[in-house]
Point group: C2
Chain length 469, copies 2
C-alpha cells in the first residue's frame, strides 16, 4: 500500500538559522530578559502578521537602508486557481513598515504616547551568502506620539538598551558603546556651507551633493579620514563643484574623530571651532538636543554612551537623534543596535503627524556571534529539574503521583517512562543534564529519596515539601 | 524635495489576525502558561525556520488532512536575478514536517526519547473566508523515540493537555472533553469483516472501500448515525459490494455512540458484543493499548477524558492512539486540540524507525473564539505597575532616579515625560490603566507619596522599599 518514498537529505536552508534545544534554551533566556527590561519601562508588546500588502512594503524603503526592494519575499499560493484576484502579500523586512500600518489602522484605539516593543522575525531575500541571515529576529522599541514627541524618549532609548545589552547572559564582559548623534548638526553644518562651482562662482550645496557627502561620511569609521576626504572631493567634482572643496568639510570631520561623553564637552568643542558656523539654527538645535540626551544619560557607566557626530544612518528617514552600538574591540563588525528619531511614521497611511523615536536590536546576528565565539552560557538539554525514577510496573501510579506532587511545588519534572534497570534510568537523566533524580520507595513504609546528580549526595525527602539545594 | 505620497488605507489582511496591546497581553499570558506547563513535564523547546524546501513540504501531506498541497505558500524573491538557481522555499503549514526534518538532521545531537514543544506560526494559503486564518499559532508537543516508543507517552499527552486547557485564563469555566481512540480497533474490526460483492461472493474489504468507510465514520458526529449508514452503503456499492453491506458496520457504530471513561468499561462493551469479532489480533491490541491509556488518566476529573471509537483523524498518518478535544456544549465547533501516535516520523529523510506521539493545540483559533465570546480576562494596555510623576523640570533627574529605584525592586515603571500639569499626568496613567501613581517630593525634605488608583488612597512611601497592596 505504501510506495517507496524519495529520501531527501535533511539539510539546513542557507540563511535560515535554527538551534539545538540547549542553544534554543539560551535564546529563550535572551527573549525573556529583553522582554522583562522593555516591560519594566512600561513598553507594551504587539505582534503584527508576517505579511503586509506588497504595494505598502514597496512604498517604503524602510529605515534608509539601500535596495531593500531587492530583498522582498513575495508569497504565492502554490495552487492558485485561475481568476483569483488577490492583493499580493510580502513578508516584512523590518518592523517599521508594520508599526506604521498598525499605528494608522488602530489609531483611535491606541493611547499616545504609544510605547511598544516588538520581537519578531523579519525576512530579507538576499542572495544566500556566508554569515547573512535571510530570516532573523529583531527586537524593537519605539515611542510614537501625535504632533510632537518630547526629547525625554530620545534619552530613554539608550538607557534601556544599555541595561539590556550589558546584562544579557553571555554579554556581561563585552565592551560595548552606544554612539549618538543628531542629524540636525550635520545637516545644519552642510546647509551653512558655500562652495565654488567649476566656474568659480559661490554656490550652496545641492541636495544631490549633500546626499553623496552623507554617504561618504557614513563610511568614515570604515575607510578612515584620508579616504573619506578623497571620496568627498570626488563627490563634489562629480556634482559640478571646484576641486579642493573637501577642505570645507574637513573641520567637521576633525570634530567627528572625538567622542563626547557629555553635552558640555560637545558644546565646548563645537562653539570653540572657528571653522564651523555655529550660528546655523538647525545646527544649534541639534547641539541642544544632543546635549540634553547626553545629560540625561550621565548616570550610566563611563564610556557607555558618547556623542559621535559622524553617524549618518541612511538618508531620508531619521531627522534628529540617531543611535548606533558597537563592540569597542571590534568596531568593524558594525552596529548591533541602531535607530533614531523620525518625524513622519505613517503619512502614507494616515493624515496625521506621528513623530517617533525607536531603536532595534539585531537579535539573531548578535546571538549567533556570541554562540560562534563560545560566549553563551551552556543551556540545558531538558528544562526538567527532577527526573522521577520508576521502580517497578506496579509502582507506575506512585511514580506519576510523585511527579504531580513535585510539579504542584513548582518544580519541572520528567518521569521515567518504563521500569527498566535503574542504571539505564540514571544514564538518561545524566544525558539530559537533569540535576536531581527522585526515587519513590520500592516498597511501602520506606521513604522517598532524592539524589543531587552534581554532588552525588542522596537523602530522604518528602515530595509534598522539598526544596532544591 | 518630498513628493506627495500615495495614501494606502491601512487595512487588515484577511486571515492574518493581529490584536490590540491589551489583547496581545492576554495572548502572551496564554503562551507563558502553556510554556510553563509543557516545561513542567520536561519538554524542551525548539523553533524551526518558517520555511522548508518546497519539495519536502509537498512530499508529505501533513497529518492526514486532505489537500494541504493547495494551501502551500511559496516564497519568491521580488527581484530575482536571471539565472538564480535556488531551491524553492515554502512556508510550513504545520509543525510536523519541520519536526521530521529537524529530528533527522540533528539525529546524532539529540537525546531520545526526544520530548519537544514548539509554539510557532503556521501558514495555510486558503482562499480568504470568514473565520479561517491563513496565519496562526499552533502549540505542539511530541515525543519521538528510536525503534519503539513506550505507551507511557500516549497517556502523558492528554494529562498535559487537560492541565493546559482547563487552566488557561478564560477557559476555567469551559466544559471540554478529550476524546481518545486507537486506530487499531477500527482497522482491526474492518479487516475482520467479509462482505458480499455484487455477484454474491464473499470478499474481504479492499483498501479502497476501507478508506471510504473511514471517511464516512469520521463524519459520524457531524451527520448522525442514519446518514452515516447511508454514506457507508453508498461507499460499498460504489466499490462493488452488495447492497445492505452497511449492516456489517452498524454494530461497531453502536459502540461508537457511547463514551467509555475507563478501560474496564471499554473492554466490557466490546467483548460482550456478539457482533464484533474480538479475536482479531489488531483489534485486541488496540483495546489493550487504549485501556492502558485510559487507566493512566484515572486521576483526572470525571468526564475529562473518555474513549470515543469513532475518531479517525485522517487516513494514513496515525497508527495507534488518536486524540480530539471538544467543547461539550458545542461539539460541532470541531476539535481544538488533536493528535495521535505515528510509526514513521521521518522515513523520507533518514533510514531510521522513529515512532512518535504528539498533540497540537489550535492556539489562534481557540484564543480568537474566547475573544469573540468576551470570555478572555481584560488585559492591561500598559504593563507598568507604577507611573512616576514629574513634578518640575528641575526635578527631572529625581523622577528618573525614583523610577530606577522602583525598577531595582522588580516593579514595572513608566515615568511621565514632561512636567505638565499633574491632572494631565494623572489622566495619562488612568487611560493606560496603570494601577499606582508615584509622587516624588516637590521640594527637598518632603516625603515621596504613592497613590493607589483603584482605591484613591495616597500614602507616604520609600522608593527603595515599597510593596504593592
Amino acid at each position: 500500500m505504501s510506495e517507496k518514498k524519495k529520501i531527501f537529505k535533511p539539510q539546513p536552508v542557507s540563511g535560515f538559522p535554527e538551534w539545538l534545544p540547549e542553544v534554543r534554551a539560551v535564546e529563550q533566556q535572551w527573549f525573556d530578559h529583553i522582554r522583562k527590561i522593555f516591560e519594566s519601562y512600561g513598553f507594551c508588546n504587539i505582534e503584527t502578521p508576517s505579511v503586509e500588502l506588497l504595494d505598502a512594503i514597496k512604498a517604503k524603503g524602510g529605515d534608509g537602508e539601500a535596495d531593500v526592494d531587492k530583498e522582498i519575499y513575495v508569497l504565492e499560493r502554490y495552487h492558485k486557481e485561475d481568476g483569483d484576484k488577490e492583493a499580493r502579500l510580502a513578508l516584512h523586512f523590518d518592523q517599521t513598515v508594520p508599526l506604521a500600518r498598525y499605528t494608522a489602522q488602530h489609531f483611535n484605539d491606541l493611547v499616545f504616547p504609544f510605547k511598544r516593543y516588538q520581537m519578531q522575525r523579519v525576512w530579507r531575500g538576499e542572495r544566500p551568502q556566508a554569515g547573512r541571515f535571510r530570516e532573523f529576529y529583531q527586537c524593537d522599541i519605539d515611542v510614537i506620539n501625535v504632533d510632537s514627541l518630547p526629547l525625554h524618549f530620545d534619552a530613554e532609548m539608550p538607557a534601556i538598551i544599555w541595561e539590556v545589552l550589558s546584562t544579557l547572559p553571555g554579554m556581561e564582559n563585552e565592551k560595548i558603546q552606544i554612539r549618538i548623534s543628531n542629524r540636525k548638526i550635520l545637516m545644519g553644518f552642510l546647509s551653512s556651507l558655500t562652495a565654488k562651482d567649476s566656474q568659480g562662482n559661490d554656490k550652496k550645496l545641492s541636495n544631490e551633493v549633500t546626499a553623496e557627502i552623507l554617504r561618504d561620511i557614513d563610511k568614515l569609521e570604515k575607510v578612515g579620514l584620508d579616504n573619506t576626504l578623497t571620496n568627498i572631493e570626488n563627490s563634489f567634482v562629480r556634482k559640478g563643484y571646484a576641486l579642493g572643496s573637501q577642505d570645507l568639510i574637513k573641520p567637521f570631520l576633525d570634530t567627528c574623530k572625538k567622542r563626547y561623553p557629555t553635552g558640555e564637552d560637545l558644546q565646548d568643542t563645537l562653539t570653540n571651532s572657528s571653522e564651523i558656523d555655529t550660528s546655523n539654527v538647525l545646527l544649534k538645535e541639534g547641539i541642544k538636543e544632543l546635549s540634553f540626551v547626553l545629560d540625561q544619560l550621565s548616570h550610566l557607566p563611563e564610556g557607555a554612551v558618547v556623542a559621535d557626530l559622524s553617524i549618518v544612518r541612511g538618508l531620508d528617514y531619521y531627522t534628529g537623534t540617531v543611535y548606533e552600538t558597537v563592540f569597542l574591540d571590534d568596531p568593524g563588525y558594525g552596529s548591533i543596535c541602531s535607530g533614531g528619531r523620525y518625524d513622519d511614521l505613517a503619512s502614507n497611511y494616515i493624515n496625521k503627524n506621528l513623530p517617533g523615536v525607536g531603536i532595534s536590536i539585531g537579535f539573531s546576528r548578535l546571538f549567533d556571534r556570541l554562540r560562534q565565539q563560545y560566549k553563551l552560557p551552556v543551556g540545558r538539554i531538558s528544562p526538567a529539574d527532577i527526573m522521577v525514577m520508576m521502580p517497578s510496573e506496579d509502582r507506575r501510579a506512585l511514580t506519576m503521583e510523585t511527579a504531580q506532587k513535585l510539579r504542584a511545588q513548582g518544580h519541572k519534572v520528567e518521569t521515567f517512562h518504563n521500569p527498566v534497570k535503574l542504571a539505564r534510568q540514571l544514564a538518561y537523566a545524566e544525558k539530559k543534564g537533569i540535576p536531581y533524580v527522585w526515587f519513590p520507595p520500592f516498597e511501602d513504609g520506606k521513604s522517598h529519596e532524592v539524589k543531587n546528580m552534581g554532588t552525588g549526595t542522596q537523602t530522604a525527602a518528602d515530595p509534598d515539601d522539598w526544596k532544591k539545594d
